[in-house]
């Protein structure tokens, strides 16, 4: 694979649409890990068996649309996550589980209002940006990561996608809105409530490192 290709995603996609297979390989190399992680976290444990299918279908949609693809105001990455989001929603709907994509307003307010984090507890957490993690710190953050994945499954699909796109994949709020095909304010609201839920979930059950170690 040509992993060191300096062309941007849109140029590569156009090149692949013109028949350049190597351009697609570069695109795949750039985005396959993040996209796989996004799909996996979106589907959660309940749909772990469909992760590969959703991931593969997403890329196949890219392949099928390559000949007529045009950058219409959105980046390739935004479009790629849009395809993945659609595929995830299709899988969830096909499974028969209840899916409340837009049920974001108010459903987490009670939890957020009920929980008030203790400021002292957060202050004993290790620094998140620390590059050199010691044994206890590393164990703490791995535990935090496991807890966060559990908390993510408590979010609605809409809130989960907004949080993952914004915090995990680094999309801006505007790109999140484009990827989810919603308005900017809607995306912002979904993200706000998602974080409130996650904070409550994480703070209530993840004890500060000082307390747990002490």
């Amino acid at each position: 694979m040509m992993r060191d290709d300096v062309r941007d995603d849109e140029t590569l996609m156009l090149a692949y649409g013109a028949g350049d297979v190597a351009a697609f390989e570069v695109l795949y190399a750039r985005h396959h890990a993040a996209l796989y992680r996004f799909v996996r976290r979106m589907l959660g444990r309940h749909f772990a068996a469909q992760v590969d299918e959703a991931f593969q279908d997403t890329w196949l949609r890219v392949v099928q649309s390559a000949a007529r693809w045009e950058p219409r105001g959105a980046t390739f990455r935004t479009w790629l996550y849009t395809l993945a989001h659609h595929r995830v929603i299709d899988l969830v709907r096909r499974s028969g589980r209840e899916l409340s994509i837009d049920a974001v307003d108010g459903d987490g307010d009670a939890d957020v209002a009920a929980w008030e984090p203790q400021a002292t507890a957060w202050q004993h957490w290790p620094a998140p940006a620390g590059s050199a993690l010691h044994g206890d710190e590393l164990a703490f953050w791995r535990h935090a990561g496991e807890r966060l994945l559990q908390c993510l499954e408590q979010l609605s699909v809409a809130q989960r996608s907004a949080f993952l796109l914004h915090h995990d994949d680094g999309l801006s709020l505007d790109e999140v809105a484009r990827a989810l095909e919603v308005g900017f304010e809607t995306a912002k609201t979904r993200l706000r409530y998602a974080m409130a839920k996650l904070r409550a979930c994480m703070g209530a059950y993840l004890a500060p490192l000082a307390e747990s170690s002490g």
Partner: protein, 398 residues
């Protein structure tokens, strides 16, 4: 990244907590998850195959375009060859001819029929019905010859020969402006090949009306129309059949005339038809035209006293016509100077007739007979015995 999602009124620690969430995501157990190699290989294989198919389809489209271009080029090259160009031109000409013949009567548009039987109407149809019953035209070659009167005709009294004015033969040529225009512009090309077809067009049913018309037609049409008229009266024939017969006869007669006088212009119908028409017909036609529109005509005797024609003049012309029919042995004196009397035959009388100020005819009575000069200068001489000539000169109006 986190400013826009920090709820108002929150403690500053909320921003750090966002960093904590991100740190937790980075250290989640699935942070290093990758798609299985089989999935990646399948995706890449599909991508390569799709690109190959796109290339193939592009190549095939390019090949199709190239094939189409080569076909067009081959067609263009083959069209430039003489055989193909000739075939194309033939199709174009056939289409053009078909369009030109569209809506033309089938008997007119058809190819000229084979030579006809010699039972065609006589050339001397200007004669009375007794003469008409004896056709003299037996072949086209006989048309150009002047019809020589039979002994019976020579013996016919003047009063019996005199025809009514309405049935006078239209032997004298009509002015060019009064001739009928071609039936349609589509006929023009064929007319250029076969001149003067208009005098052949009156059908049998219209023959009577054509006789009543004041418009005087060419001398060649007169016998045709008259003969057709007589035939139509004698035997009731179906309309279509009579029409086709008449047109066929006229066409045959016209062809014969063209063969006999090919150099004559279409307008000079009198000149072209003079050899085969009796000289008396010219006088009859002249008289008919004068009688039809006397206000347009003036005449002079011996070059003086210009006046409109009256009954005296038409009566005298009728007498001259009768005398010509009774005694005539017309000779074509074409080429002679029409303005001066011929040689020793000094003119006893000269009457000039003008239509709309233009001289149309000169009737000159000499000791040898009558000289009839048409507007083109062609002269026909009708030989009379001296006594008849003298009597005719004496009876001329003054």
């Amino acid at each position: 990244m986190t400013d826009d999602v920090t709820p108002p009124g929150r403690a500053p620690a909320d921003e750090a907590r966002d960093a904590h969430l991100r740190a937790a995501l980075r250290h989640a157990p699935d942070a290093d998850a990758r798609p299985p190699d089989a999935v990646s290989a399948r995706i890449l294989a599909v991508a390569r195959a799709s690109s190959t198919r796109a290339d193939v389809s592009r190549d095939s489209a390019r090949r199709r375009q190239g094939r189409l271009a080569s076909m067009l080029a081959g067609l263009w090259i083959s069209a430039a060859r003489p055989s193909m160009a000739g075939a194309f031109a033939t199709v174009v000409v056939a289409t053009l001819v078909g369009v030109l013949w569209w809506e033309r009567p089938i008997d007119v548009a058809m190819v000229r029929p084979a030579p006809v039987e010699p039972s065609a109407p006589p050339a001397a149809t200007t004669a009375p019905p007794a003469t008409l019953s004896k056709p003299t035209l037996t072949s086209p070659s006989a048309l150009p010859k002047p019809a020589s009167p039979s002994p019976a005709e020579q013996a016919t009294p003047l009063a019996r020969v005199a025809p009514p004015a309405a049935r006078a033969p239209d032997a004298f040529p009509a002015p060019a402006g009064r001739r009928q225009a071609p039936r349609s512009s589509v006929d023009a090309p064929s007319r250029s090949v076969e001149p003067a077809p208009e005098h052949a067009s009156p059908p049998v049913d219209d023959a009577a009306a054509a006789d009543q018309r004041t418009d005087v037609r060419g001398d060649r049409s007169a016998p045709t129309a008259a003969a057709a008229h007589e035939r139509s009266e004698a035997e009731p024939v179906p309309k279509a059949l009579r029409k086709s017969e008449t047109q066929g006869f006229v066409r045959r007669e016209r062809d014969a005339n063209l063969a006999a006088a090919p150099a004559a212009e279409p307008r000079d119908q009198l000149s072209a038809a003079a050899p085969q028409a009796p000289a008396a017909a010219g006088l009859a036609g002249l008289r008919a035209r004068v009688q039809s529109a006397p206000e347009q005509w003036t005449w002079t005797r011996d070059g003086i006293d210009d006046r409109h024609p009256g009954a005296a003049l038409t009566t005298w012309l009728a007498e001259a016509e009768q005398a010509a029919r009774a005694n005539a042995s017309a000779t074509n004196a074409a080429g002679k100077d029409a303005a001066t009397p011929a040689g020793s035959e000094a003119a006893r009388l000269e009457i000039q007739l003008f239509e709309a100020g233009r001289r149309r005819a000169i009737v000159r009575v000499t000791a040898a007979g009558i000289d009839l000069v048409d507007e083109t200068g062609r002269m026909q001489r009708i030989r009379l015995d001296p006594s008849t000539s003298a009597a005719l000169a004496a009876s001329a109006p003054r």
